[in-house]
Symmetry: none
Subunit: 231 residues, 2 copies
């Protein structure tokens, strides 16, 4: 089952955001808005990884890190503001296994989390975990490990962005995904309405998949809402 992950950040929106993304990956999240609360949790739950914000009032993430290091040993990822001075960052993140500067792309954080867990457990991905990286339906096979795509036994050569889009639509098929959500997922940035980038990528995908907007076999347009792959 999913690993236990501690998340501590006084910026509630960020902590919540991280929680959502981690839960989406089936991790068990222990979220706290203050280090004090977090310190209790460390003792009572068997954690597998921690994500800590560096700067927090009173006790900072660094204190939590130290506490963690005094007793238990599991990977720690630190979050730092982008405008911190470089040497300060290197100091603060000393002893952490990795760090990410805010603002960050949620998917990047997830990738780092997985990398750390992989490194820590040292063993290869379990079968169930490996299978989470493979989607197959309606003649389409997507492999997140190799980032390969097969359509009716024939390989489709997708660009990184195309793969990300198709993966997300596939993983959420049966649900309409707005361009905005898609953009947010793949690019991790704010969506600008003047931007028809998503549309162009969808177009390219359809072309490669021998799909069409008029009679979609895979990616269906839902007017005024977004795109969907039927379940």
């Amino acid at each position: 089952m999913g690993a236990n992950i501690l998340v501590v950040d006084d910026e509630k929106e960020i902590a919540d955001l991280i929680e959502v993304y981690l839960q989406n990956e089936n991790y068990q999240v222990y979220k706290f808005y203050s280090p004090e609360e977090a310190l209790h949790c460390i003792d009572s739950v068997k954690l597998d990884l921690a994500i800590l914000d560096v700067m927090m009032p009173e006790i900072d993430g660094f204190t939590v890190l130290r506490k963690v290091r005094e007793s238990l040993h599991f990977p720690v990822i630190m979050l730092t503001a982008k405008d911190e001075e470089i040497d300060k960052i290197t100091g603060l993140t000393l002893g952490a296994d990795d760090y990410i500067t805010k603002p960050f792309r949620p998917l990047e954080l997830i990738a780092r989390v997985k990398a750390q867990l992989r490194r820590f457990t040292k063993y290869n991905q379990s079968d169930s975990e490996q299978h989470e990286n493979i989607l197959a339906f309606s003649g389409l096979i997507l492999d997140k490990n190799t980032r390969k795509c097969l359509l009716n036994e024939k390989p489709l050569s997708l660009t990184p962005t195309e793969f990300s889009i198709l993966w997300f639509l596939s993983a959420n098929r049966g649900r309409v995904i707005s361009s905005e959500e898609l953009f947010h997922e793949v690019w991790g940035e704010k969506y600008f309405n003047s931007n028809n980038t998503v549309m162009v990528h969808i177009r390219h995908l359809r072309e490669k998949m021998d799909d069409s907007a008029e009679h979609p076999k895979y990616i269906k347009t839902v007017w005024g809402v977004g795109y969907m792959i039927e379940k």
Copy 2:
């Protein structure tokens, strides 16, 4: 109760000689005069040890060794002619647990066999652990203990960094590894995007492995994601 031992040598007299001595010690001997036949045996019998001649027509003992290392983990003793060049020997015997030069005294071979079996059964755990330090696939053999590398029976002289990179890619083959993850793994530091050092090492590796970016036999570039060795 005797262990199952595979013997492969195209010099029949020698194979027969070995067989006699081993049977005299109550070992169950599976003797073959050609590697082809032997390859079948490997799959169908649970072997405890193998004695392989290095030089054999068509498929050589090395191919058998590779096959063995790809799947099962048990001690392998290689036989080499005395007049082989020294560096060739060290290269050829890489990945083997022991080697003996011909001509040899039968009792010495028996002694070695016993030593290997003792080591393997007595320190089963540590031994299988030791074999976790050997990777073999597609003509490539990597030994983390000696940090030596063999490509199609020929030794590759890799620098420490190169070996680390190749090892990590090999240990995770079938999965795309980003430059970032690679850097983190090998250097253990934060990755800076302005840094193309990973790329240069990949380039050197490819050159030594007679591999190319355009038509990769081993290290494949996955655009926008990273590098991968196919499984």
